[in-house]
């Protein structure tokens, strides 16, 4: 029986850091099966979680001083909520792991404590029929488990509600930025290439100098959309994310072009439109990180948002190429 520590080692923390900045994102799987913390007996509670490092760490860290079983189900290395939404953290999968671990021979009770956010995938009322164990939904956050156990396995409204605090938003920013670096690299190369086009056919010095200016605007737009927007999320007016990103993009773009002296009006206009469109796109992508955006809502906002972002980027690009000829 593998024993899990309730303390994270330096190595665990380094792994967390790597996971959070998106390095080798699909390599944080654990072996499914039964684990233990402390010295559990046949009466000890059984906590179920996903086979994703961050999910497992969040759980075991909160079990210090508790003797318990942890049943890790195979969610292909995906966190509890996303796996439940996709159906890999499912009733069948939980039943399969219960049977595979011969849990009925190890514990005398017949109850599993499931993370509440597994509920989109796990039907508690069907578990009993499939594996002989009843499912009880525990709190959303592992941090509430001690209180949950202390109150006789009951979770209050607060434990059952998702939150989206500043810390919860900030921790998602690095991976959002890491996920677009490939696209960013391609765009940067294109920017440098087109920046050299001018009346004298092609100028390498213009490619470098104008390319730097446009590259700077791109970095700024990414920060406006993927960092500033998440930080200021509750205070930026509007509900739709592409609009929120547009607002931060306008502020960032205006600051950037007004700081750049000796810039033609066409260059300035191009950079402003570019920054607004790119920031809007980045902010729209943050919908996937939030715990409150519905699929219907995101599809709705994307129809107009994506169309305007694409148009804006094309207009900005055309202006940028045309600027040396007309400016």
């Amino acid at each position: 029986m593998p024993r899990a520590s309730t303390h994270l080692s330096l190595r665990d923390h380094l792994g967390t850091l790597r996971a959070r900045i998106g390095i080798a994102r699909n390599q944080y799987k654990l072996n499914p099966g039964l684990y233990c913390v402390g010295a559990p007996t046949a009466e000890s509670p059984v906590f179920v979680t996903a086979n994703y490092k961050l999910s497992f760490d969040a759980l075991r860290q909160e079990l210090s001083g508790i003797n318990a079983w942890i049943l890790i189900v195979d969610t292909r290395g995906i966190n509890v909520w996303c796996a439940a939404g996709k159906g890999t953290f499912s009733t069948d999968e939980v039943a399969l792991q219960v049977n595979r671990a011969h849990l009925a021979e190890i514990v005398s009770h017949r109850e599993l404590i499931l993370p509440q956010l597994a509920a989109p995938g796990v039907a508690s009322h069907e578990l009993n029929r499939k594996c002989g164990f009843k499912g009880r939904f525990g709190p959303i956050r592992a941090a509430d488990i001690q209180d949950f156990l202390a109150s006789g396995n009951n979770a209050d409204d607060k434990m059952r509600s998702v939150t989206f605090t500043l810390a919860e938003r900030l921790i998602l920013v690095p991976v959002e930025i890491a996920l677009i670096w490939k696209l960013f690299a391609i765009i940067t190369v294109i920017i440098f290439l087109v920046s050299g086009i001018g009346p004298e056919l092609y100028s390498v010095s213009a490619a470098l100098s104008r390319g730097m200016i446009a590259g700077g605007a791109t970095v700024l737009a990414i920060l406006a959309g993927a960092l500033v927007t998440p930080i200021l999320l509750p205070w930026i007016p509007g509900r739709q994310f592409w609009l929120k990103g547009m607002l931060t993009g306008i502020c960032a773009g205006l600051a950037y072009v007004s700081a750049g002296k000796a810039m033609s009006i066409y260059d300035a206009l191009s950079l402003l439109i570019w920054t607004v469109a790119a920031a809007s796109y980045m902010a729209m992508n943050f919908t996937g990180a939030t715990p409150y955006t519905s699929l219907s809502g995101v599809k709705k906002e994307m129809k107009l948002g994506l169309a305007l972002q694409c148009t804006g980027m094309c207009v900005a690009l055309i202006l940028w190429i045309a600027s040396p000829f007309i400016g």
């Binding site: 699909n26 989109p120 998702v162 919908t287 715990p291 219907s296 995101v298 906002e301």
Partner: protein
């Protein structure tokens, strides 16, 4: 979650009161606390708080709740990637979160 609100009147969520047996599962699993039990029937008290996670429908023993059944989640990157996959004729498995 009262401090974060998304677009109103878009979520696909229906509760059939006639089928409801008042077990309270939906009130337990909803991460936005949008259900309440009144007597022996569930009631949607904060429809615009719904994010279509589907927990209530999955845990309703009498299938009285209907939530947007489309695959995917409220994530723009996922939706864009699934469009691209569909255009390229590849299976839609485009998200590692």
């Amino acid at each position: 979650m009262k401090d974060f609100r998304y677009i109103d009147d878009t979520a696909i969520l229906k509760l059939n009161k006639d089928l409801c047996i008042g077990c309270g599962n939906c009130t337990t699993v909803c991460p936005h606390r949008i259900f309440e039990l009144h007597g022996h029937k569930a009631r949607i008290v904060d429809y615009n708080g719904c994010m279509e996670c589907g927990a209530c429908a999955r845990n309703c023993p009498v299938e009285a709740i209907y939530v947007n059944p489309d695959d995917g989640c409220g994530c723009a990157a996922y939706i864009i990637n699934s469009w691209i996959s569909r255009l390229r004729g590849k299976p839609v498995n485009v998200c590692s979160c």
